[in-house]
Every structure is written in structure tokens, then in C-alpha cells.
């Protein structure tokens, strides 16, 4: 029996390693090319090590401005999403109401709508109400598009916080907001972190929304500017493209690792959405 177990483990290991190599090849390309002075399109050991690619892209035009724009857009959007979601989740989780079920069903329905589909009308609408090409308009739309999922996640996490503690606080005269901010939210720290990071990561990587809603080149976040700058492939310096990709991807990977560490394995999200 133990031998059978060991051989089975070996087989599983080999299979997984094969998949890992297949998934890892494109990742290896970007990392290796970013330090390769003569990078091209295939994975290979760099001819030499250089930081010149990073040097070349670390300019306000290519890196700093777009990243700052991304930060403003995604930071603003995430803050708005998390604040609204926490407020909305509280009554849904704590009070019984006839409205809860239809509301949650609507929210859940909205989580799965293909947002891509409404971008053309959103563009037309934003032209009408003059929100086109504004950061605040884009932030609002980002927040609205993430909100259904955020509310749903937040409510599930909040359900896991025992009610008894708040009831004690209520009898001491605390208001709902006080108990939400002082008791519930601190107790659901990991859940809050998941919602925040998830919203941020989704917005950070989103291409279509800013592509449609912003027009002025100076306001473009990294997801769009990278395409403008490197979209011209015939001439592109692949090393620089790789270096930029590394810089642009690092924040979300770090955030993910941070949350995954705290939650032990990062499977909390999987658990929360499995329904």
C-alpha cells in the first residue's frame, strides 16, 4: 500500500511538472527577455545580463505617468467599491428583510453579466452626460462593475462573523455604523483583504474599460498605454516590452502573494465563489 501510494505521488508530480513547464514557458520568456540585451520572441538563455531595457522604459512617458494613472483609477475604484460593498453587506447580513432575497438575487445576476457587452452603450452614454474622458467617470464605472461581486463576497464573509459580539455592543448603545466599523470589519480582516485585492487586481488588468472611456493619452492607465506604445510590433524592442510587462505586473503579483500568505494558500476566493 505505501509503495503504491508513493508511485502514485510520483506520477502526479510528473504530470504537474509537465503542466507547470507548459504554463511557465511564456512567463519565462518575459522574465528572461527583460534582462536580455538582444531579446526576440522566443524563450532562450539571455546572451548577457543587462538592465538597459528597464532603464529605457523607466521614463515618465512610458512608465511613470501610466502607472500613476492606473494607481489613481484602480485605487479610487477599489476604495469606492469596498466602502459601498461593506455598507451594503451589513444590512444584508444582519437584518432580516423581505427585500434581502430579491436584492441578493439581482446582485448575483449582475455579477455574471458580460460587462464587455455594455461598453459601447456606456461610451455613448458617457458622451451624452459628458463623463467621457474623465477619471471620475471611469472610477465610477469601475466601481459599479465590480460592486455586485464585491457585495456578494463581502456578505458571505460577514455572515461568518458571529452576531453575539455586536449584540453586546448594541446593548452598550453602539450604533450600527459603530459596530460595523469597530467590531465586524476588524473581525473579517482577511475577507476585507480578499475583496480589496480582488477588486484592485481586476481593475489593474482591465483593458477595455479605460480603452473605451478615456481618450486623452495623458490620462491612460498602463493597460492601454502599453498597447499604444508596443502595439507597433514590426519595430518593437521586445526586451523593453518585457521589462515594462514585468514592472506593470509586479504590483498585482505582490498583492496576491500578500493576501495568499495571510489566508494560508490563497484558496479563500475559490471557497467564497464556489456557491
Amino acid at each position: 500500500m505505501p509503495r503504491k501510494h508513493a508511485s502514485r505521488r510520483l506520477a502526479a508530480d510528473v504530470c504537474l511538472l509537465l503542466v507547470t513547464v507548459a504554463f511557465g514557458l511564456p512567463l519565462a520568456w518575459v522574465v528572461l527577455s527583460s534582462v536580455d540585451p538582444h531579446a526576440d520572441l522566443r524563450v532562450r538563455v539571455p546572451g548577457g545580463l543587462t538592465l538597459a531595457n528597464f532603464d529605457a522604459v523607466l521614463t515618465p512617458d512610458i512608465t511613470y505617468t501610466p502607472l500613476l494613472n492606473s494607481l489613481i483609477l484602480c485605487g479610487g475604484g477599489t476604495a469606492l467599491t469596498v466602502a459601498c460593498a461593506a455598507l451594503a453587506a451589513y444590512p444584508l447580513s444582519r437584518f432580516r428583510s423581505r427585500l434581502n432575497r430579491p436584492f441578493l438575487l439581482t446582485i448575483l445576476f449582475a455579477t455574471s453579466l458580460p460587462i464587455t457587452a455594455i461598453m459601447v452603450p456606456v461610451y455613448a452614454l458617457f458622451v451624452r452626460v459628458n463623463l467621457i474622458d474623465t477619471l471620475q467617470g471611469t472610477i465610477f464605472f469601475f466601481a459599479a462593475s465590480q460592486l455586485p461581486f464585491a457585495v456578494w463576497l463581502m456578505k458571505n464573509f460577514m455572515d461568518g462573523v458571529p452576531k453575539e459580539l455586536e449584540e453586546a455592543a448594541w446593548t452598550d448603545g453602539a450604533s450600527s455604523l459603530q459596530s460595523l466599523v469597530r467590531i465586524v470589519l476588524p473581525l473579517m480582516g482577511p475577507g476585507l483583504a480578499v475583496v480589496t485585492v480582488f477588486s484592485f487586481v481586476m481593475m489593474w488588468g482591465n483593458f477595455f474599460v479605460p480603452f473605451m472611456l478615456l481618450l486623452t493619452p495623458d490620462q491612460m492607465p498602463a493597460s492601454v498605454s502599453i498597447n499604444d506604445f508596443f502595439g507597433n510590433r514590426g519595430m518593437v524592442a521586445y526586451g523593453q516590452l518585457a521589462a515594462f510587462s514585468v514592472i506593470y505586473s509586479t504590483p498585482v503579483i505582490l498583492l496576491y502573494i500578500l493576501v495568499a500568505r495571510r489566508l494560508g494558500g490563497g484558496f479563500a476566493l475559490g471557497g467564497a465563489v464556489k456557491g
Partner: protein, 284 residues
Amino acid sequence: MRRLTRVLPLAPAVVLLLLFLAGPIAYCVYIAFTDLQLTGQAHASFVGFGNFRHAFHDAEFRNAVWLTLVFTVLSSLVGQNTLGLALAALMKRASKPVRTLTGGVVITAWVLPEVVAGFLLYAFFRREGTLNALLDWLHLPRQNWLFTLPVLAVSFANVWRGTAFSMLVYSAALDEIPSEITEAAEVDGAGGWRRMWHITLPMIRRSIGTNLMLNTLQTLSVFGLIWVMTRGGPGNRSQTLPLFMYEQAFQNSMIGYGTAVALLLLVVGSLFSVVYLRLLRTEV
């Protein structure tokens, strides 16, 4: 008053959703029945079902529907879902370092920004790219993937990018199966595949259902990945509905028509969404 304060915290979320989600959807329904154009037109007018009639006679629209189906079935149903389940099952048996490594790599692909993922896979599938280098090395015939089989290339790209989600969902589901059950089956002499088919799958069928729905819905709205890799081309060989919609609305200037296509996409998405809700029914 008490009821009011209970409902009030919902207000910011509701306002945001009404203004920026419900509003555009309503506007979508309105524009879909007009012939609004980006250029070349003084005033838009109401055209009834004209855009929809046009769509059903439009060979390019049918092509886009077909490609969307292929893309969804290949990358979501077959690719992400099956691979995700296989990975989750294998990870339960594998040694810890391998598990961590695989999880790390697969999840990194998922966390990467859409456009970066697009570029990486563009480099991978491009004529001078890694895949062809690999095929040369194995003495297998090379292909200009993005040109000859663009749907396959973008489908693989979507598998690469989206499998982590299924893997996480299934890992969580498998963890919840009490180990006594599988052990009992093992004692009874049931082989690996039979255990999977007769015991594991039925026990996680709800997860399978929800995962399939969510995967499909995500896949239906993929835009950036395909845009960066092929822009829907060459020709319109990888033009799924979102790309078709964009092209009609902006490059061909027919915003009304593009919006009508968007509305159809939205309706299909809603149908899936309703099915998903039914699967979850007892939970809410």
C-alpha cells in the same frame, strides 16, 4: 425610521449600480433600435428591429457567433474546466513542493494583467516564437499559429490565463469531500477512474455547475486578450462577438448596429446567469 436606517447603507451601492450599470443597460436597449453612427450622419433615427434583422442576414455576424461558440467550448468547457479539475485532483496527491510550484505558476498566469497575458502569448504563438522553436527542436512541423489557427491560439491563451480559477474552485470542492468516503471506496477496490466518475464527480457536481457557468460568462466577455493577440484577424478568423461588436460600432462607425449585437450578447449572458442562479437557488 428604523426600517429606513436599515436600508440606507444600501443606498450608495444601489445608486452606483443604478447610474452606472442599469443606466447603460437601459441605454443599450434604446440605442440598439436606432441607426446611430459615429460618422457620416446628421441625425440618428429609430429603425425598429432593423439592426437585428441585419444581424441575422450578416455572414460576418454568423461567423462571429460561430467563433464565439468555438472559443467558449474549447477554452472554457473543455480547456479551463477539465484542466482545472485535473490539476486540482492531481494536487491532492502530489508532494508539497510540486504542489506549491504548480499552484504558483498557474495562478501567476491568472493574476497577470490581460494585456500582458496577451503579449506573452502573442510572443509564444508568433511565427518566430517559443512554440515553433520547441516544435523545431522536436522535429515536428511548425505552423504560423496566429495566422493559420488563430481561434485555437486565442483559445489556448484563454486556457492559460483562466485555468487557475477552476483549479481553485475544484481544490476547495475536493477538500470538502470527507476522506472516509474515498477511502471506503478504495477498500472496496474501486480504481482511480471509477472513483472519480462514481464518487468524486457526483459529490462536487454543484461546484462543476457553478464553475462552468462562471467560466462561460467570463469567456463570453474576453476582449483584451484577443485584441492584443490578433485584433480578431487575420480576416475575421478570430473575431468573437465582443470584437465584432467593437468593430461594427467604431471601425465601421455603426454604433447602433454594434449596440444591437451587444444587446444580443447581454441577453445570452443573462440566460446563462439565470441558469447559474437556479443552480445556486438553495443557497440564497
